[in-house]
Amino acid sequence: MGYDIAVCIKPVPDPKYYDKIKIHPVKKTIIREGIPTIINPSDKHAIEAALRIKEEFGGKVITITMAPMSSQENIREALAMGADEAYLLSNRMFAGSDTLATSYVLAQGLKKIGKFDFIFTGNESADGATSQVPGQIAEWLNIPHLCNVREFHFTKDKKVEAKIKIEGGYIEYLTTIPVLFSVSREVNKPRYTTIKGVIRARQKPINIFTVRDLELDNKYIGLKGSPTQPGEIYIPSIGRNGEKLKGDPRKIAIQILDRIRSVGVNFGKSK
């Protein structure tokens, strides 16, 4: 039988280099050049979920990424884990995309590639952490979607029962296929990439799509297609300023409470 499965993956800065990340003083964006990238950690859970379905029922797993060309190393790692084929959507015109523009391009890419029974994503990216893209992709594709999926299994009539993690518990859903799941870390433990996987990944294709290869309305892509713009980004000062208060200890205590109240902390009135 088999299922056609797509996994959206994103390269994110390697946490080991977080202390080397700088912010552009004018554009207020993160300067990513020179910072190695890894596959977004929660996307690995998405890849694992896809691979387990393929191993049990057959089918094909592809990965899809919107990123610079330099992300091919990360994409190879997904192929080494066991994905069959990869698609990279890459073009200068995609630069500056917010989550809506990103989800639009990914959705158009998915439409171009084919029809899928499952689309998996990680719940959030380690850099942006908005959790918006999965739901947006599903809306563009007009398919049901569930976020924070921590467990799922097939029913006898080929629907899917899924548990969604909420604070203190879970909610159960029943959904038809096709469906998009963004998965939480509890859904599985991703397998280690193997050396044989690395060797086999050599032979697996990475298909590059640019703007010309996709049916895109330019008003929805890049900076133009991004209704959300970054505000002020700054590195907070962690310097400490001190002030010595002199006088009667009781009067000083009242002064301190008044100072704390003045920045919004409510202790009630001083006696």
């Binding site: 190393e73 190879r76 060797i199």
Partner: protein, 383 residues
Amino acid sequence: MELFKFVEEQEMLRKVVREFVEAEIAPKADEWDKKDYCPVELFPKMGEIGITGIFIPEEYGGAGLGHVERTICLEEISRYSAGLGIALMTHYLGMAPILYFGSEEQKKKNLPDLAAGKKICGLATTEPGGGSDFTGQKAIGEIKNGKWIINGRKCFITNSHIADICIWTVVTGKNEKGYSKMTAFIIDKDAPGHKPGRKENKFGLRGSVTGEDVCVNVEVEPNLIIGKEGEGAKIAMNCIQEVGRAGMASIALGILRGCLEESIKFSSQRIIYDKPLNKLQSIQFIIAENRVDYEAAKLLIYHAASLKDAGKTCATEYSIAKLFATEAAVNASKRTIDLMGGYGCINDYPAGRFLRDAVATIPGGGTSHIQKIIIANNTIKGD
């Protein structure tokens, strides 16, 4: 043209191994050292990743890669646990005679399970009377009723108590010049009369098992001879030179990287005179020396490994790499302890373990003095 560069696949392989090491080895290395425990349960897991069979051809269940990739595996593992590093290295060392000199039947029977990490291998040559003096071995094999009867006691054998298969070198007679003829045998751990002896309490490379291996009237079929009768010395020396010695150098490289990374980490976090320790020149000198030692050892080892993969002679290059890397690891460990001051003497920090492990790498695969003799003799001969 960049002369020394790993290809993309080798970089990916390093990432794969490092991911496994950081999850399964790094958090437990200290505990294994304290308890002197060899994590045999990791061998099948390393087999699944492809580590235990990295240089075994695919037709025998291995990854089909080479000795550069083998060095990457040993470096990454030994960065955190040189003890596990030498257990793995000895596993490779035991497989090498079967792979390079064994019959097709021996390869098909033994290599798949060894490559998968389902069985562990060892090599037993050293005896109380012959370590550096290779031909001083006294273990003896005599043919009776069509079977070989092996008697002997080997010492300082890594994997002594955990190996499923051990390759023994044994005196089986004299050649026409009157010198001992040595033969290599495949000995199964459950062969009647075979058993491990005393387990040694080492101060370094804990996380591996080292001890005696004993054969008392062990019967071995002739088809368990590797190569031909009398070829044992050639087989063992070749494997010790190009797999064992190479492996010890790779383990020392891992220790060197550990020293470099820990010295950077400690000196950037420790604040003294209101600034990080690494602002002091004397500390910078230590970091620089650690870096130089690591980079130099890296070039020597990977160059030698690339020669082996290209099928070229590499015995001298591996001796140079082993001599340099192991001695440098001792020096770097001591420097790192000096950098850390009093903290360097606290077991919560790995620097002390690095020093103990580094010192213990020197006798393995031939002492530094033996390496100098080899290098000098080969250099004089024009190699």
